[in-house]
C-alpha cells in the first residue's frame, strides 16, 4: 500500500499546529492579564466603586476563558497523534483540568455579569419610547 501521509510527517504537522494554537492561547491569556492590569490600576487611581473592579475582573475572566478554549483546541489536536498510553493519560488529565476550569470560569462570569447588570440603574421609562 502506498503511504500517502507517513506517520512521522503527520506527527510533525500536528506538533507545529499544537504549538501554534497553544502559543495563541498563552498570548491571549497574557495580553488579557496585561490589559486587565492597566485597567485595574486606572480604576484604583480614580477610586471608582467596587462595581468597576468587578467589571475589570469580568474583562480578565473573558480573556482567560478564551485562552482556555485555545488550549483545549490544542489538546484536541494532540489526540490526533498520541503514540503512548501515558501521553494519552496525561492529555486526558490536562484536558479535564482545563475543561473544569472553563466550566467554573464561565459560571463565574455569568454570575458576576448578572450582578453587575442588576446593580446598574434602570434607564428612564420614557427612553425606550424614543
Amino acid at each position: 500500500m502506498v503511504d500517502l501521509l507517513p506517520q512521522e510527517a503527520l506527527q510533525e504537522v500536528v506538533d507545529q499546529l499544537v504549538r501554534l494554537v497553544e502559543a495563541a492561547g498563552a498570548t491571549v491569556i497574557f495580553v488579557g492579564a496585561v490589559a486587565a492590569f492597566v485597567r485595574f490600576l486606572r480604576v484604583a487611581l480614580r477610586r471608582r466603586g467596587e462595581q468597576e473592579f468587578i467589571a475589570v475582573r469580568l474583562f480578565l475572566g473573558r480573556f482567560l476563558a478564551l485562552g482556555l478554549e485555545f488550549q483545549l483546541a490544542g489538546d484536541v489536536l494532540r489526540t490526533a497523534v498520541a503514540p503512548s498510553f501515558q501521553q494519552i493519560g496525561q492529555l486526558a488529565a490536562i484536558a479535564a483540568i482545563r475543561t473544569a476550569l472553563n466550566f467554573f470560569l464561565s459560571r463565574e462570569i455569568e454570575r458576576e455579569g448578572r450582578a453587575v447588570g442588576e446593580s446598574r440603574p434602570a434607564p428612564p421609562s420614557g427612553a425606550a419610547n424614543g
Partner: protein
C-alpha cells in the same frame, strides 16, 4: 522552537504573579476591600497557573498544577462566601 516557547512562558509566570500582587494591593488601597483584593489576586494566579500548566510534561508537574489550581478555587470560593 518548543524550548523557546517554554522559556518565554516560564518567564511570564512570575511576571503575572507580580502583576496580581500589585493589582491586589491597588484594589485594597483604593477601598475595594480584602475580599475584592483576594479575588483579583486569585484571578491573576489562575492566569499564571494556566501558563504553567501549558508547560507541564510529567505527571508530577500536572498534579502540582492541578492541586494548586483546585486549592486556589477552594480558597476563593470560601473567601467569597457571604456569611
Amino acid at each position: 522552537m518548543a524550548e523557546v516557547t517554554g522559556a518565554v512562558a516560564a518567564s511570564l509566570v512570575p511576571l503575572l504573579v507580580v502583576m496580581g500582587l500589585a493589582c491586589a494591593l491597588a484594589v485594597l488601597l483604593s477601598g475595594g476591600g480584602p475580599r475584592g483584593a483576594m479575588a483579583v489576586l486569585l484571578d491573576f494566579l489562575l492566569a499564571a497557573g494556566l501558563l504553567h500548566l501549558s508547560q507541564a510534561q510529567t505527571w508530577a508537574a500536572i498534579t502540582v498544577a492541578a492541586v494548586t489550581t483546585v486549592i486556589r478555587k477552594v480558597v476563593v470560593a470560601g473567601f467569597l462566601l457571604r456569611l
